[in-house]
Amino acid sequence: MLTTYLFFGLALLAVLGALGLIIFKHPMNGAMSFVVTLISLAGLYALLSAKLIFAIQLIVYAGAIMSLIVFIIMFLNIQEKDLPLDPNRWFYVAGGIIVVGPIAGLLINISRTLPATEVTVFDDGFGSVKEVGQLLFTQWLLPFEIVSILLLVALVGAVVLAGKRGVN
């Protein structure tokens, strides 16, 4: 039962955080709100016995990526006047809900056809570092290597893009 409560609590936090992201005007507020979502998601991962993912979500996502974003937002020193006006924001949101509704409905309906499995937390190796690591370096070795190259390319690309001087 505890897991159910935990799930609903975390889910509520995640949704509220996401709402905050799309509602707050200043990106800094949005980013803070988004962090809430990310941490809640980490909790949900833990509920799903994904121990490694839980850790990485906290360390890499909520930690590294979000601090990078926050750092950049602060680095750019965004003022209220710099922010783009979003005069039709609510129109878009309303229209968006109408448009997105069927998609959400379909996907949720599909998910409801799945077998009703109670989520209990495994305490064996499922989702642990060792198990996932073995999988990663045996069956998923090639994709893993490709992703590493992707990261390398992204690194170089970011340096090239952001490090350009003499423009303007």
């Binding site: 968006g96 448009v99 069927p102 998609i103």
Partner: protein, 638 residues
């Protein structure tokens, strides 16, 4: 029954080889140093003369054979064979073609010799002889061809040469237009010829497409196809032989040098149509209706052309219309199934009309290319040989009794009368009178009376021997050619008719002595009346008449040329312009252009969607997804 002789192929080949050699010589030297006229002249005359000698050999070879075996053939090679169609490049000398062969080579050789004098000094002397040789070669193929397709080769070949020679003085657009006209009008006839051949082939051609096989199978031809074939072939004949409605090119063809007019447009080529009808006598004999059509068109052409001839001022035009008129007689002859009479008239006509044209050429040359008879006069003393020979030619043309023209023309008129074509005979007699009138109108105006252009008269002089000798020979021919076919009533043996009999399918009518006397009497009467009116009117001094009223109408040939121009040529040109300026860009091409336009419009329509904001594209994507989701939901019954 047939005999094979290889030398037959050489008869057309010799002039053709001459044409090739002369043509190459001309082409290789025309830019630089010219070859002397003497060499061209000799080379040009070698081919025709040799051909004439071989034609004589063929003639005597045939003579030595029994009447029913007078068929010499030579099959050079298979020309083309497709399915049942088997056409060989073959030659056939039978009594009909040998007669044609003989006079074509004879007159041809004489005119080649005459041309050496006439064309002297022309810068395109070599080209002229090349064309002339090419013409003679084509004409010989036409005559000797052993089937319709080979005949067609010669048929179109002579048409080409006619075109080339009419537009020989090509600097003047008028000459070229005359040449074009001749070629195009001939082509209209050729269309008939080709279609006629095609029908003939599908009718009876499967077992061999040469005259002898066709003749053997002629009885298989069904009546409708037979009629179609005859009429279509006759369309071809009207083109080549200048009959109604395609006669218009011949008078214009006088733009060419005079020897050309004499050879091509009087003596040989234009009679090809008559020869063709006689050649196909085995079909025409089965289809009397076609014969009627031929005869009536022929005699009406004779009448119409005679009317035109009476009012012309150009000496060559008078002779040209007279040729058309005489051709009409010939068609009347072959139309009433008197094939030998028609062919005999072809034979005699070749002599006297060539003579008249060459004589006219002599006059024209003497007066420095003056062709208007109203600028001539009294030339009798200046050009005695020309005068006397032309007089003989004129008498023969007009049908003066002992001369060649009288005998052959009378034969036709008698045949028409004896086969019951009284109308044709009556018109024929009328035309005979008109012929006498216009012939002597010309001779009297040109040679008698006093000179109208004193200066030209003073400079006139008789032509050189190389020109007058052919005149004399042809004059002798005009005098005596008739003797070959003297009718029985004068104690003759009708040797030509008998000679031609194996080649033709004809039944000699027996009208009796009374009809024969009637025919002869009427002809002589017509001649006398015609010549006396001309004598009364033109031996006294007359000047160029006023071109007004009816005279003007006749002088302008009933405005038929203008009519053709406005009814056929102008609409055709208009159609060309209409198609290329209106129909092509705005109608035919319209669907293509419209499809392009449609794409452009679609592009413009979709351009609106491309706002440039990435998130709007995301919206499109999401909307698409959304619709898809709805559809999937529906089909999954959620």
């Amino acid at each position: 029954m047939t005999h094979t002789v290889t030398y037959l192929g050489f008869i057309p080949l010799l002039p053709l080889a001459g044409a090739l050699v002369l043509g190459l010589m001309y082409l290789s030297t025309c830019q630089g140093k010219q070859i002397s006229e003497r060499i061209y002249g000799i080379l040009g005359c070698v081919g025709p003369v040799l051909s004439f000698l071989m034609a004589a050999k063929v003639f005597f070879a045939l003579m030595s054979l029994p009447a029913q075996e007078r068929f010499l053939t030579h099959k050079a090679f298979t020309w083309f064979a497709v399915g049942d169609l088997n056409v060989s490049m073959g030659f056939l000398a039978d009594p009909l073609s040998s007669l044609m062969l003989l006079f074509v080579t004879f007159v041809g050789s004489l005119i080649h010799i005459y041309s050496i004098g006439y064309m002297a000094g022309d810068k395109n002397f070599g080209k002229f002889f090349a064309y002339l040789n090419l013409f003679l070669g084509s004409m010989l193929i036409l005559v000797l061809g052993d089937g319709p397709v080979v005949m067609f080769v010669g048929w179109e070949g002579v048409g080409l040469c006619s075109y080339l020679l009419i537009s020989f003085y090509s600097d003047d657009p008028e000459n070229v237009v005359a040449g074009n006209k001749a070629f195009i009008v001939n082509r209209i006839g050729d269309l008939g010829f080709v279609l006629g051949m095609a029908f003939l082939f599908w009718g009876i051609g499967a077992d061999g497409f040469d005259y002898l096989s066709l003749k053997a199978n002629a009885h298989h031809l069904t009546a409708p196809i037979g009629l179609t074939v005859c009429l279509l072939l006759f369309v071809g004949a009207t083109g080549k032989s200048a009959q109604i409605p395609l006669y218009v090119w011949l008078p214009d063809a006088m733009a060419g040098p005079t020897p050309v007019s004499a050879l091509i447009h009087a003596a040989t080529m234009v009679t090809a149509g008559v020869y063709m009808v006689a050649r196909f006598s085995f079909i025409y004999a089965h289809v009397p209706v076609a014969g009627e059509v031929v005869a009536w068109i022929g005699i009406l052409t004779a009448l119409l052309a005679a009317i035109f001839a009476m009012f012309q001022s150009d000496i060559k035009k008078i002779l040209a219309y007279s040729t058309v008129s005489q051709l009409g007689y010939m068609f009347a002859g072959v139309g009433v199934a008197a094939y030998s009479a028609g062919i005999f008239h072809v034979f005699t006509h070749a002599f006297f009309k060539a003579l008249l044209f060459l004589g006219a050429g002599s006059v024209i040359l003497a007066l420095h290319h003056q062709q208007n008879i109203w600028k001539m006069g009294g030339l009798q003393s200046k050009l005695p040989i020309t005068y006397w020979t032309m007089l003989i030619g004129g008498l023969a043309l007009a049908g003066c009794p002992p001369f060649a023209g009288f005998i052959s023309k009378d034969e036709i008129l008698y045949s028409a009368l004896a086969t019951g074509h009284v109308g044709i005979w009556a018109i024929g007699v009328l035309v005979a009178g008109m012929t006498a009138y216009y012939t002597f109108r010309m001779i009297f105006v040109v040679f008698h009376g006093s000179p109208r252009d004193q200066e030209a008269y003073d400079h006139a002089h008789e032509s050189p021997k190389v020109m007058t000798i052919p005149l004399l020979i042809l004059a002798a021919g005009s005098l005596f050619a008739g003797s070959a076919n003297i009718p029985a009533i004068f104690g003759g043996h009708q040797r030509v008719s008998h000679w031609l009999a194996p080649s033709l399918v004809e039944h000699h009518p027996h009208g009796g002595l009374g009809l024969e006397i009637l025919a002869i009497g009427a002809s002589i009467l017509a001649f006398v009346i015609g010549i006396s009116i001309a004598y009364r009117k033109f031996t006294v001094k007359v000047d160029e008449p006023d071109y007004q009223g009816l005279y003007n109408f006749c002088y302008h040939k009933f405005y038929v040329d203008e009519l053709y121009h406005w009814v056929i040529v102008a609409p055709y040109q208009f159609a060309g312009k209409a198609i290329s300026r209106v129909l092509e860009p705005y109608v035919t091409d319209a669907p293509v252009q419209a499809s392009g336009w449609l794409y452009r419009m679609c592009g413009l329509a979709f351009k609106v969607v491309q706002v440039g904001y990435v998130r709007i594209y995301a919206v499109y994507m999401v909307i698409g997804l959304s619709i898809l989701s709805l559809l999937v939901s529906r089909s999954l019954n959620f």
